[in-house]
């Protein structure tokens, strides 16, 4: 797995006065898969892993790539690599975390090769965060009324387009955290970055999406 470089601006530690951010623990059922059998090369156990994890892993890859056919072939390649590299699994993370890391890396490589680029740059995401002066908002956020866009499908279209515009690493974190609801620590392991970096990017991604939606959802001033 190639190491992901942490972004410079994320290395400046954020600090809260005399408190620490509680860490979430990454645990949960691994399903009924017999890990020892799997590590010993048991095909039946591997088959179970394919059946159990394929739908969710497919959804993650589709949302990163935005291409169903390519996602299916990336899924197959992911399981092939996992099968061939099973002996390298060190039990330092959950098996699924290890599997998803393989899938996400393959999806990213495919995205780079196809040069499908998202329209926002990292610096733009940065600029879409609110401005503060002396610790207070410079501009008062105007109240929202999403129902002013009456059709649900139109609202969803706006959100979908917003997510597609995010740079890939931000989009991937939104998919894993906000859609698939993996814990911050699990996402950090899947992406091989720190939990702090996951939190910062997740926050910026949500802030950028909020900014993209703002002009559409802002309540009209009363006449």
């Amino acid at each position: 797995m190639e190491p992901t470089k942490e972004k410079e601006s994320e290395q400046t530690a954020r600090q809260l006065p005399d408190s620490e951010v509680a860490t979430t623990t990454a645990e949960g059922a691994e399903g009924a898969i017999d890990l020892e059998a799997l590590l010993a090369g048991d095909e039946k156990a591997f088959e179970q892993l394919v059946i159990q994890e394929s739908p969710r892993l497919f959804r993650v890859i589709v949302r990163i790539l935005g291409d169903d056919d390519e996602a299916e072939s990336i899924l197959q390649e992911t399981y092939l690599q996992a099968y061939q590299r099973m002996h390298t699994f060190r039990k330092e993370s959950k098996l699924t975390t290890w599997l998803y890391a393989i899938g996400i890396n393959l999806a990213r490589a495919s995205l780079r090769k196809s040069r499908r680029l998202s329209s926002l740059e990292d610096q733009e995401v940065e600029k879409m965060q609110p401005d503060f002066n002396r610790g207070m908002f410079v501009e008062t956020p105007g109240a929202w009324d999403p129902s002013k866009i009456t059709e649900l499908s139109d609202r969803q279209q706006l959100v979908r387009r917003g997510i597609e515009q995010l740079p890939e690493d931000y989009r991937t974190i939104v998919v894993l955290r906000d859609i698939e609801e993996y814990s911050t620590d699990e996402v950090a392991q899947m992406l091989d970055i720190s939990s702090g970096a996951v939190r910062v990017r997740l926050h910026r991604a949500r802030g950028a999406l909020r900014k993209l939606l703002d002009p559409h959802f802002r309540r009209q001033p009363a006449e």
Partner: protein, 93 residues
């Protein structure tokens, strides 16, 4: 804002908008310790800006969740197993 909260914020004893915003992900995701969470609640309860921002932030998250439906092909796992039988030393069942 209440005078005491304003004073505390000015003295750096309570978080201001910027600090609250910086840790909004942790706040929303329930990852803050109790003391900090209560400080944030105090601020947000009294600050219209943070109140609106939080509301929009949460709306953004919930819309993200409901919007990205994916149809999973019905034979997905079976296709993968066929692929493995063809390309790896895998016979399966």
């Amino acid at each position: 804002m209440k005078a005491l909260t304003i004073l505390k914020t000015a003295l750096g004893l309570a978080p201001g908008c910027k600090k609250v915003n910086e840790f909004l992900a942790e706040y929303v995701d329930g990852e803050l310790d109790d003391k900090t969470r209560m400080q944030f609640e105090d601020h947000i309860g009294l600050c219209g800006c943070c109140n609106h921002y939080l509301d929009q932030y949460k709306t953004t998250i919930s819309m993200t969740k409901e919007t990205m439906e994916v149809n999973v092909p019905s034979q997905l796992a079976e296709h993968t197993l066929t692929f493995l039988r063809k390309n790896a030393d895998f016979s399966g069942s």
